[in-house]
Amino acid sequence: MKTIVVEHLARVEGHGGITVELEGDAVSDVRFDVFEGARLLEPLVRGKRYDEVAPALSRICSICSAAHTLTSLKATENAFGVRISPQTELLRELLYRGESIESHALHLFLLALPDYLNYPSATALAADKPDIVLLGLRLKKLGNRIQETIGGRAIHPVNVVPGGFGKVPAVDQLLELRSALIEGMKDSDTVVDLMASLPAAEFCRGNTVYAALLSPNLDSYYAGDEVMIASNGDRSIIRAAEYRELTNEQSVPHSHARHSTFRGKPFMVGSLARLTVKPRRPTGRLVVVRERLQLQAPAGNPMDNNKAQALELVRDMERALETIEQLLREGVKDERPVGVHPRAGTGTAITEAPRGLLIHSYTYDAEGRITSADVITPTALNAASMEMHFRRAVEQCAERDDAVLSKRLQMIARAYDPCISCSVHLVRRR
C-alpha cells in the first residue's frame, strides 16, 4: 500500500490536509482532513439576544464574514417575519458583491495563480511579474472599499443590523464607489486575458452535480430561498426549510467521514455551480468573457471554478455598478432599520457566499433569545465533491510520481477555494 499525503495545505484559509491511499494502482481511500480546533460557536451562542447573533457568528470566518453576517440577519429576520426595505435589499446585495470581488481577487491572484505560473507565493510572483500582483491587489482593494463603505469594515461588517443598516451610506460615498468601479472595470479585459492565457489544467474528468441558489432574477447572491441542483440535465429544487435534504450527512464507502450528498451523490457549490445551474444565458460583455475563457457549462473539470470566478469578478463589478446606479436613481433615503419584534419560531436563510451556498438556520424563544443555531458552509458542502475529484485525479493520472500527484491534488483543492475555518462543522477532523 502507498500513501500520498499533503501534510498542510498552503495558500488556503485555515488548516487542512489531503491523504490518498493506494492499493497498487487503485485508490482505496481519500481524505480531506481538517485540523482546525473546534470552536463550538453554534452551541455557545445559545441564550444570546437576537441582535448579538450575527456579530458572534460572523467570526466563523473572515473572508466570508459579510456572507455570514448577511445570512445570519436573513435567518433572524425570517424567524421574526421582518420584511426589510427594498433599499436595504439593494445595499446588502451591494455589500455581498464587494465581498465577492475581494474574495475572488484574493483567491485568484494571491492563492491560485502562483500554482499556474510555478511560484510558491504571490510575493515571489511579484518579484518577477509585479503587474499581475498589483492588478490583483487593486481589485481586492476595490472589493474592500465597497465593504468598508457599506458594511463599515472590510472584515466583520459592523453596519448591517437586524432590520436594515445602522447608517445608510451618503450619496457622495456612493458616487465615489461608482467612480472606483468604473475605474476597476477597465481592468476586466486584463483579468480575462490573463486567465485565458494560463496553461490548461485538466486533472480529472467526469460528471459533477452542481447546486446553487435559485434567486428570483437568477442573479442575486442574497435574495431567494430555493436551491437548484443540476445533475446531468436533471434539475431538482429544495426549499430553504428542507435544507437538511442537502446536508443529510451520509456515510460514504471510501471514507468514514460524514458528508453532504444529494440523493447519494456529492455535489459542488461555488462560482462554477452558479454558472452551471442557472438557466439564464449570459448577456452583453459576459458572452465575450465566457467565450474567451472557453468556459463550458456544465463543465466536468473542477479547475474551471477559477475561470468561473474570473467571470464573476467582472460580473460582480457590473452588478455593483448597476446597483449603485439604481440606488442613486431611486434616491438614497436615510432610513432607520425597520422594527424587529421577536417571536418564538424558526428561520432559515440560504445565500450565495463567494465559495457557494451558505445556510444559517435558527430557532428563537418568545423573548428573542436564540435556542439553537445550525450553520452549513460551502466548504463543508463541497467536502464530498472535493474528495471525489481527488480520487478521480489520482485514478486518471498516468504518472505515479508523488510530486506530480501532490501538486495536482493541491491545485484541485485550491480551485475549490476552500475556507477551512468555515468548514469545521460536518467535515471530519483529526
Binding site: 480546533g37 510575493t123 491587489l137 477532523r429
Partner: protein, 248 residues
C-alpha cells in the same frame, strides 16, 4: 544587517488578522521589501518551518493540544512574539463560555466521534507562553498593525490607547447610544483604537476589542442598572469577546 526574519501564524480562529495583513493592499509590497517573511502558510507554499525568527505574529486562540504545541514551538523560535487580534490577546469568541461542559458540546455538534477530538477550552496566548506585544481588535486595525511593524523595525515598541472607545466616540461628537437611547453599548469599557467604528454607524459597541486598561466597569454596570437593562443581556454581551479571568 539583513532584513528581520518574520513568521505569520494562525492558531484556531477566523484568519481575519492575517487577512488584515493581506488587506494592506497599498503597503503590502513595501512591507514585503522591508522584512523577510520566512513562514506564512496562508500566503505561501514554500516555508521554513524551523528557522529562528526576529518577530512572530500569531493570531487565533489555543483550542487544542496541537495549537498549544505549535505555539510553544513558535515561542522557541521567536525573539519577539506578537499576539494578533482579540482571540490571541483575550481568547475571543470561542472563549465566550469557558465554564461550559466541553464534552457535552462536542458530542452535540459532532456526535459521538466528537468525544475523541483534540479539544481544549479556548485560551489566550499569554496563558500558555510569554507574549511580548498585544495588538487587539476583531480584527486588528490596519493602521495599528502597520505602526507596530514600523516601530519594531526601528527597535521600538508601539503604545496603544489605554482609554475606551467612549473617548473616541465623544471626540467624533456622536449622540450617546447608551445615555440618550438606552442601548447596550460596550463603548465605556472597550479598548479604543477603532475610532468608534460601531457607534459612528449608530450601532452599539459589541466590545470586540476587549477591555480597555482605563475602564471603570462598576460605574458602567451601574449605568445599566439605572436604565433598567436586563442583567442577562449585559452578561452575555460582556462575555462574547473576552471571558472573565483572562486579564494579564
Amino acid at each position: 544587517m539583513g532584513k528581520p526574519a518574520v513568521g505569520i501564524f494562525g492558531l484556531t480562529g477566523c484568519a481575519g488578522d492575517q487577512l488584515v495583513i493581506l488587506n494592506c493592499e497599498d503597503r503590502l509590497l513595501d512591507l514585503v521589501s522591508l522584512v523577510d517573511i520566512r513562514d506564512f502558510l496562508m500566503a505561501s507554499s514554500e516555508n521554513d518551518a524551523e528557522c529562528s525568527l526576529d518577530v512572530a505574529l500569531v493570531e487565533g486562540a489555543v483550542l487544542s493540544n496541537r495549537d498549544a504545541e505549535k505555539l510553544r514551538t513558535i515561542r522557541k523560535r521567536a525573539r519577539i512574539l506578537v499576539a494578533l487580534g482579540t482571540c490571541a490577546v483575550w481568547g475571543g469568541v470561542a472563549a465566550m463560555d469557558r465554564g461550559a461542559d466541553r464534552r457535552k458540546l462536542l458530542e452535540e455538534v459532532y456526535g459521538e466521534t466528537g468525544l475523541n477530538y483534540d479539544s481544549l477550552p479556548a485560551q489566550a496566548l499569554h496563558e500558555i507562553v510569554k507574549v511580548d506585544l498585544n495588538i487587539t481588535g476583531c480584527p486588528i486595525e490596519k493602521d495599528q498593525f502597520l505602526t507596530a511593524i514600523a516601530n519594531l523595525l526601528n527597535g521600538d515598541v508601539p503604545v496603544y490607547p489605554s482609554y475606551p472607545v467612549c473617548t473616541e466616540c465623544r471626540m467624533l461628537e456622536n449622540n450617546c447610544l447608551l445615555i440618550e437611547h438606552g442601548e447596550v453599548c460596550c463603548g465605556p469599557i472597550t479598548a479604543a483604537g477603532c475610532n468608534a467604528r460601531c457607534p459612528e454607524m449608530r450601532v452599539p459597541c459589541v466590545g470586540c476589542r476587549g477591555p480597555a486598561a482605563d475602564a471603570n466597569p462598576s460605574s458602567f454596570l451601574g449605568m445599566f442598572e439605572e436604565k433598567g437593562i436586563d442583567p442577562r443581556v449585559i452578561a452575555t454581551r460582556l462575555r462574547t469577546f473576552a471571558p472573565e479571568g483572562v486579564a494579564q
